[in-house]
Symmetry: C2
Subunit: 232 residues, 2 copies
């Protein structure tokens, strides 16, 4: 019997590669895309839909307003997204134990919200795995992207779902770099032209925000060309 997996698909290159990873393990795919008030919601939704078509995945679109209204991030609400070279200096920034700045684009505890939605969906729809493309490579300051967070969340899933339910949290890139994701994505023929990473503009990508800079650097380090269009 084919196993089913939920993939948290933002529409970005990391989650697209997570989807490819799940497909390579022969899961039937269910994409869960969440609009939570991020600035680029329209473009991300479009990419997530295109990726669902590409991977022949069922598509579930969750809309929730609480993350935007809670505040605490420049990705949602009225914050201004900074250029990468000023990251770490924003007024919302904090410093973690090992000195990494939590970027102002950090949405507090976002991945716990997204994983909880995905696990609810998985339990109701007999899916045995939840894939998330998060990684710590570039955004060391995001505490909910670290392997220790995903390990802890697995325990919550084991304790908080019905006894006969087994749902595995799969964060295949958690310990890796964005460059490694590009390399893995190229191996798996991920349609990177259907993905979106820019935090700021709708189209073309700005090329200067954190997300663009890290994406472009990852492609460069992988000796590959990013197929999407950038401003200037």
């Amino acid at each position: 019997m084919t196993e089913h997996a939920v993939v948290l698909v933002s529409g970005g290159m990391d989650s697209a590669t997570a989807a490819a990873e799940a497909a390579s393990r022969d899961y039937d795919l269910h994409f869960l895309h969440t609009s939570y008030g991020q600035e680029t919601a329209g473009k991300e939704y479009e990419c997530a839909r295109d990726l669902a078509d590409h991977y022949d995945a069922r598509f579930f679109h969750a809309e929730t307003d609480h993350l935007a209204r809670i505040g605490g991030s420049s990705l949602v609400g009225d914050g201004t997204v900074e250029d990468a070279d000023s990251a770490g200096g924003g007024e919302n920034d904090d410093t973690t134990e090992d000195g990494d700045a939590v970027p102002s684009t950090y949405v507090p505890f976002r991945n716990a919200n997204l994983l909880s939605m995905a696990v609810s969906y998985a339990e109701a729809n007999d899916c045995s795995a939840v894939f998330i493309g998060a990684h710590t490579g570039d955004f060391q300051g995001y505490p909910d992207c670290r392997p220790a967070f995903f390990d802890a969340f697995q325990t919550v899933v084991d304790e908080g779902t019905a006894q006969e339910t087994t749902i595995s949290i799969e964060a295949p890139f958690a310990s890796g770099s964005k460059t490694a994701i590009v390399e893995r994505g190229l191996e798996l023929d991920v349609p990177f032209e259907k993905t979106w990473s820019c935090y700021r503009s709708e189209e073309p990508a700005c090329g200067t925000c954190d997300a663009c800079v890290y994406r472009l650097r990852a492609f460069e380090e992988a000796a590959a060309t990013d197929p999407i269009e950038y401003a200037e």
Copy 2:
């Protein structure tokens, strides 16, 4: 400096007593009430607002559609809520390791969704605790009401929030009975007339669904009178 606490307030007697517990510990209160498609959303919202006035709490109302649309429960969507005497026999019911039935009113992994929202709010608003009134006394089949679940969630919070953030998950009734909640609530002068538990009708309470039966039994065992009105 006064510490702040988020209380997950559904409008029911358990969460009202959790609010009273937090108030008794001298926290400034922030109520987080979530509409997720439950049948009684209007009445619950009204009670939650009344309780916020009573406890002089800030009020945050989150609306999310995903739990209703994911399905898997008779509390949301088009399911029919059963009478208490037929509980355990519904088609959505499952059996846990220790033989307790998971009632068909179980919303998969609901408390993880609610706690994640509350922790996001807490981190963005410098609250140091999150209170939840869940307990295993009557609904032994709800896996996300057990002490082991809350302990595991505490670890997720510690791992998934910024290093300098300390947010304590407080589930003061997790190991107790509903009768113990009534007794504690009476000690703390909880305005039980401003709370709502019935799964089914808008007003008066049906008196026959799981939630009504357990509530009435708890008041009876505490030798107290439930001040709300019941049908017939």
